[in-house]
Symmetry: C2
Subunit: 365 residues, 2 copies
Amino acid sequence: MLVRQDLSYFFMGKKVIRIKDIAEKAQVSTGTVDRVIHNRGRVAEDVKERVNSIIKQLNYEPNLMARVLSSRKTFNIAALIPDHKIDAYWSAPKSGIKKAESEFRAYGTKIEYYTFNPYKVESFVKKADELTKEKPDAIILSPIFYKETLPFFEKWKSQNIPFVLFNTEIHEYDPLSYIGQDSYQSGLIAAKLIHYGNPDPSTFLVAHIDEGTANAAHLEKKEQGFRDYFEQNSLSDYQIIRAELNTAQLSSFLNAFDTILRENPELKGIYVTTSKAHEIANLLQQKHIRTLKIVGYDLVSKNIKLLNNGMISFLINQHPKGQGYWSVSHLVDHLIFKKEVPMLKYLPLDIVTKENLNYYLDSDE
Amino acid sequence: MLVRQDLSYFFMGKKVIRIKDIAEKAQVSTGTVDRVIHNRGRVAEDVKERVNSIIKQLNYEPNLMARVLSSRKTFNIAALIPDHKIDAYWSAPKSGIKKAESEFRAYGTKIEYYTFNPYKVESFVKKADELTKEKPDAIILSPIFYKETLPFFEKWKSQNIPFVLFNTEIHEYDPLSYIGQDSYQSGLIAAKLIHYGNPDPSTFLVAHIDEGTANAAHLEKKEQGFRDYFEQNSLSDYQIIRAELNTAQLSSFLNAFDTILRENPELKGIYVTTSKAHEIANLLQQKHIRTLKIVGYDLVSKNIKLLNNGMISFLINQHPKGQGYWSVSHLVDHLIFKKEVPMLKYLPLDIVTKENLNYYLDSDE
DNA sequence: TTTGTTTGTGTGTTCGGACACGCAAATATA
DNA sequence: TATATTTGCGTGTCCGAACACACAAACAAA
């Protein structure tokens, strides 16, 4: 008969501590140590303290492999996200979620998708209701409807279901974690880029296109960052104007834009705070106007085309794929590995030109 | 007595395949399946085929947790890297390696560091010799000395020790993987940035500072990218000049630079292809020249200071930390998880301004 | 005092895979 | 033919942690 002896092995000169080692040192059984670790009760107070102090002293770190393997739970994560068939932007976060899903599948995570129409509140509420009924172990969502989301937060909170937000930040009922971009900083960057390309005093337009109240806070922060750049650098001879445009009503959109062009002959740059820079760029292309610098957001295909032909100067990439990925990753760290996860994770803001576009298109963060 | 029955559990509707399941279906024992999987021989040919076809058919994916847990090997990885006390640039890759080390410690990886003086070949050779004697399970290195590295590659190759290169690319004796930046593309980007800020025809300087032959290929590629940008965009009325400067001999450096300034009154921008943009920026600051746009590389503290006060317009970040991290990560994927790893990984090129600097300073990729 | 419940602790099985060993049958060598 | 060796396959233990269960002692209720 084979008996491999108890190695209690060493790693980098240090003994690797197992529950068994703690048990021996504390003169109790592994079961007791386990009960202490998981606070499952049924342990005498003095023993508990003794074990805990030994755990601390030996700097015990549980073996995650063994933990995952032995407690073979499956965690159901619900992802409440906008339908990418309706707004292409959302395909990136989804692919990030999918990437994480496949990476963490082995740990027993399962993701159920609830997709809603980003332009219809009812659709959001309906899906959120469905999801809540299923009582998932955790939730990922982009709460683009502020008012309607709050009651759900309350419910999840009371049911102790952790949720992670991405893309859109809501502070109330603190989520486990928020993954997103720093809108204010991105406004600063946009300003820098536009200013850098137009060193002489002129007029710049901040255009909020096609996003109503849903993202209002974000857009405001972006605009504030943009304006503050000029303020901070004492560039008071630059004029910043703003416009809210909606391409749904095409003719009024065209009119409004024409008016802006007419009334601002000194206009040299446009900062589009949403992913709709292509709407403006297309228009300018049709009008054969090539003197305006456009800075926009997000690597959606329509933007990419116009970045490549030079109509758009820069796109700021908010790592939408990374947002999806990290949302899941944080949840897995929390649920499975019981790690502390940061409450806030701002993803980097990448400045994308046609020259470095390739990296961001299929970067697998 | 408790008997938990064999669950052969389901996940997302699909049965999760274990060795046991394969064994049952193939009417053999798990030991046999194991021998097939690991090609340990001692299996009849027909059985082997049967098992293999079932593995394929059921799309068996080994449980990595279980694998790591049961085969409790420790892998010794040797990291051969330049001393960051001599050149600050190298602290970033090292911190990336350390990050990966702590992340993968649980999988049984141990990293031994061999640091050499990046300015002394002998130092490199000595450390490489030491390392080779230790017969590590894998090697990570930045082969900044081309000629001297080749014999080691040969040796490691013959000893079947996989090695990963980062930062500096050498094609011969193909490494397991190369992690680095696309120098040519970064030249293009630099050109775009400098041109964007100087739309009117003028002169630009490509300055190679303080790096001799070690990085020659890289620097050439950068310059080529820079020049090609103007070519591709038919900007033939821009003049591109080049200079190789060495700050070690200070007076000749100053003289050379003065000459350049004197002879090129139309000079509007400087592209520093190394991490030494601060040398130029400092000089210009002393001379109170603020009309030149400088684009350089790497977030070393001296550069950061000058980025923040506006002397340097942009820094291109080559993700040095990520290079270290991904080197280890690829090795772990290969050694432990037996995954396919890409032969080439170009990390993104980030355009850093003082506005988005924060993200890159402690971004934990 | 007897019976029931709570508290404290130890034991044994399991997760999926790796590998050492046992052992019979087939084949080779004497 | 007797003895060695190789080949093919099964069994059992272990990795470290989780958790179900067994069971004695302490305490409470009858």
